[in-house]
Symmetry: C2
Amino acid sequence: MEAQTPIVDDTSLPSVAPKPNGEYVEELVQKARAAASRLASLSTTTKNQALLAMADGLIAQLEDILAANEKDLDTFGSSKDKQAMADRLRLTPERVKAMADGIREVAALTDPVGQTLSMQRRPNGMQVGRVRVPIGVIGIIYESRPNVTADSAALCLKSGNVCVLRGGSEAIHSNTAIAAILSEAAEKAGVPAGAIIFLDRTDRDIVSELLKQDQYVDLIIPRGGESLMKTVTAESRIPVIKHDKGVCHTYIDADADVTMAKQIALNAKVQRPSTCNAMETLLVHHTIARAVLPDLVNDFMAAGVEVRGCSKTLSLCPAVKPAADSDYGQEFLSLILAVKIVRSMEEAMEHIARYGSRHTEAIVTKDYGRALRFLREVDAGAVLVNASTRLNDGNQFGLGAEIGISTTRIHARGPMGLEELTCPKFVVFGSGQLRE
Amino acid sequence: MEAQTPIVDDTSLPSVAPKPNGEYVEELVQKARAAASRLASLSTTTKNQALLAMADGLIAQLEDILAANEKDLDTFGSSKDKQAMADRLRLTPERVKAMADGIREVAALTDPVGQTLSMQRRPNGMQVGRVRVPIGVIGIIYESRPNVTADSAALCLKSGNVCVLRGGSEAIHSNTAIAAILSEAAEKAGVPAGAIIFLDRTDRDIVSELLKQDQYVDLIIPRGGESLMKTVTAESRIPVIKHDKGVCHTYIDADADVTMAKQIALNAKVQRPSTCNAMETLLVHHTIARAVLPDLVNDFMAAGVEVRGCSKTLSLCPAVKPAADSDYGQEFLSLILAVKIVRSMEEAMEHIARYGSRHTEAIVTKDYGRALRFLREVDAGAVLVNASTRLNDGNQFGLGAEIGISTTRIHARGPMGLEELTCPKFVVFGSGQLRE
């Protein structure tokens, strides 16, 4: 007799087969969608209480978080080439406290939901207004430090949005622990279940599955490297606001204040070179190059910066390495700087248009007309006169905390704070108006 | 000897082989991109002069447009089932004049480019502002009447955006003629070449090729039916703002003014049933149903509307046809209406959440609390109290002309006017500020 129906004692099976990743993602985003409308109409008080409870939860369960982080660090390894990355991954009591403080700061920010942006009376007597409402369900895909889990959950909750979080696999234990604590604390404080979803599988195709869920997810925010951006661009059926790379320039104009120019350039490069708003290329007008560059290059070198210059730069500063063509437009994210001497502001602006990533661009000048022209004509999320590119940041710009810096050209460019996590809806107060 | 190098007299060839569609699209969007920065900084005066010249051009070359339209109509045919569509396709001197008037109206609207949205002084002394800038290059894919070509070109030009237009194949001759006239008139008035691009090939894969051009195109606005929306969702690598279908409801509350309720419901259905903001389903509170429905159903029937009702509706209005489950949530776009009697506003809101397309939703009520709750909790681009859904429109809402009604949940929901075709960029007026 053939064994067409093998006899299996189901109760003896240790566990059922895991769901395929597609089903796993779909179930979670459906849960997210179901929470969205209740979260959207939650009171500011409840949201703030939840945020404070989330912050308290992180502190109360500090040991669990550190233990989970230890697992991640063990798996990641500690070979020499991995040290910088391991340091970003590492959580300490201070870092967890900073996370909790960040959440408390979000609780203190103004709730954008329900803000009236405009209200006008139309000729037929109806009042037409625009009111901020949450976007809905936001998928956030990130590769960075575990604190992004806490920051994103807090900003989404405050702005009435459900978040679906997908962190990097190297931080899976830390992120899972943090998300569980936040989610539990929020729920206890009256936030609907499903408002903070964390995707705890690390398979690569989880991202692809998430990008298909346009029925349930309203926006994808990817924060990460080139490969993530490529996947999202190619596959997403959901609107995307990218937080892509920053190839940022500082242009020192002929009429710059020399001291200010040197301070701004130095700050833009060395204050934190691994960030997207750090300067990657310095452009200097030829008439001021002799007054600025030799001193400034010395300062850069003293700060450990490797300077790669054009031939004119080399003739002024012989210690500088020659720049390759590929150095222009590169996001070094480290203590490397490309320098180019230009003949005019027009040449500087053309260089920026050609090599920049439309993230952050700055001019140093005392000339009023050129300052205004640079502000008007340079195409970037943020354009600065006489200030360091490093200031392009939600906190510095007065938005409060930020979910990142958008490089997409719709919805929001530059730092995205709470207001940028909402969208206006029209409301009409009528008294029987009809369309003629 | 083998004919490895066949002798061909190149000069005798009648024409070279046409470019593949991919190359054809890429060349045109590159041309568009190249025009974008010059167009973005064009003065309001030049843009307005160009718009007036474009309007004049349409009138001056009326005969050419009508001749091109005649070709489209001949190809399209005139069988009985095609009459409604042929009527939409048909251009008359009056319709061309209306197109020109529409362009003149856009010239009269305020230029959004350069508007300052906010400006604040930060603690470190720098002034941080947000200024409206054009989005860049906008691809508009449409299937509608030829006037969309003129409307889109005018709105994009005024807001400093390059447009890449792809119209329906049935209107190819009309659209090509209109676009050529507009483009020529704009260029003569000082607009950079490439600011108005029309894709004059009708092959289906042109849309797919366009959706790949994320390097050159910043936004895609699709206006059309389900199949277009599916293609764009699945294939676009470029951000998309959809102008998708409208399944709009009117809910007549227990406390509605009976006369007003009937007028609003009638207007919402019959004033122009083929539009996305026409009502598709009427929801009526059971305590007011007897006072409202029998009369209203008579009015609907007198206006030629086929009414499909729930069983309770049928018991009040025996002439009504029974509604199938599939009637709820359907976009009829014609003189068909689904009616349902509900027991509460909650049931009405649940019905709307389940079957609506988040486009336009209205309540008729005298109750203050329920009016505000409906406005707050119903999720749609526009929510109206005591007004017809047909009023959800850029002109009616005071935006001036509109490029359509967005159903996407980021950037802009509801009618999109000139301001919605821009995005803010940050500008910083500094005096040497550094990041601490």
